[in-house]
């Protein structure tokens, strides 16, 4: 009896108080967690960055031995300058990716819950043949359930705090990725211009003497680049969505309007599927084959 009283004083009362304090405004963060995981994949994707970085190499690979016309943009800065910018941009992708993955983990609560931990503990007790007093077990389960809910409340508070403290920085970095993507697109378009002029030069110098084949080659080069440019456009649209949704999540989690929250979570779920299907677009970008 005395033991139960002590248990009640030590665990029940503080746990109830903590839970009561924290449960106000607690929401199902699963949608936020799943969405953050997808957003993490979008911002971590370095396909467009890699394409920019390898642009010159891929352009020069178009020239075959014996071609009369030169190819490649002359007077470009040193490779070291490109390497440094590439490394810096990589850090932006990686940091944002880690941020979203952590937010996802925090929101979905991937760590085992206290209830799961207790189940594991009780099953090992039963395995060694110890009979636990059913009342003790019930008290322990009730306490753990409360603790689980308190921890959910804590997770919610931490998600809210993380979103509030990082909102401006995340928004600025997403904006940065959007603007960089615009520049990667322009570089690819510049590469398209060089590649098409190279084909025209090959026609003019007689390397591509057959007019019909020359026109076909020109059309093929244009189509290849249009496909790659479209892939970067989709990536930019994805970044637009991630940026818009980041602001919506923050409003939903920090606001107190349940209807709006449900609406936001439904919209996030729809956007998540869109993002996932668009994500494959970047895989169509060309890449320099790895050295044998």
């Amino acid at each position: 009896m005395a033991r139960r009283r002590i248990l009640s004083l030590l665990i029940w009362r503080p746990a109830t108080l903590v839970a009561a304090l924290l449960l106000s405004g607690c929401v199902d963060l699963h949608a936020v967690g799943e969405y953050a995981s997808t957003a993490g994949q979008v911002v971590s994707d370095r396909g467009a960055l890699n394409r920019w970085y390898q642009s010159e190499q891929l352009l020069r690979a178009r020239r075959l031995d014996g071609d009369k016309c030169p190819i490649g943009r002359s007077g470009r800065p040193s490779q070291a300058e490109f390497d440094a910018a590439f490394a810096q941009a990589t850090t932006v992708h990686d940091t944002l990716g880690r941020y979203y993955r952590t937010l996802s983990e925090l929101a979905t609560g991937q760590a085992p819950s206290p209830a799961q931990a207790l189940d594991g503990s009780l099953s090992s007790i039963h395995r060694v043949g110890v009979a636990v007093d059913p009342e003790d077990e019930a008290a322990l389960r009730a306490t753990t359930a409360l603790l689980s809910r308190s921890l959910d409340g804590l997770r919610h508070l931490k998600v809210r705090e993380t979103l509030e403290s990082t909102h401006d920085s995340v928004d600025r970095l997403l904006q940065l990725l959007q603007r960089l993507a615009g520049l990667y697109r322009d570089e690819l378009n510049g590469e398209r211009i060089q590649a098409t002029q190279f084909v025209r030069c090959a026609i003019a110098t007689g390397d591509l003497a057959d007019g019909y084949l020359g026109r076909r080659e020109l059309q093929q080069v244009q189509l290849d680049y249009q496909r790659e440019l479209a892939a970067i456009d989709r990536y930019r649209q994805n970044l637009d969505k991630v940026r818009a949704n980041h602001a919506r999540i923050r409003q939903a989690v920090t606001g107190h309007d349940p209807d709006r929250m449900i609406e936001t979570f439904k919209a996030l779920s729809a956007t998540r599927h869109e993002l996932e299907s668009a994500q494959s677009a970047l895989r169509t970008l060309k890449a320099v084959p790895p050295a044998p």
């Binding site: 016309c69 940091t95 952590t102 206290p114 940065l176 060089q194």
Partner: protein, 122 residues
Amino acid sequence: MPESLQSYASHLDALAEELPLTAARTPEEAMQLMQQASELGGTASAVRLAAIEALLADAPERLDAITAATASARAQIRTVSEISRAIHLTGQVIALAQCVATGQIMAIGPMLGQLNQDLAAA
């Protein structure tokens, strides 16, 4: 500034595209025009790199803020995980206490073994 660099680079590329290679009358003229296209493209590429560098120059401060918030969130995830582990161990200790209180001497050995194993893993 990055915006004006970006539009300047696009302008250079547009000039490269307008070079009339299809109208070249001799192979030499075509090669000469190709050389000009290459120079315009190279300058456009350099100007774009300058725009990228200018954009990235503001990033470190923002990155530090996000890295700090991510570390703090990670610590929270660890705390939740540690609480779960602590509950698991508490369950084991209660069971051990039950063994002693109810005189189930034979169960004490395996229980202690399990507890030691879990403590080592914690």
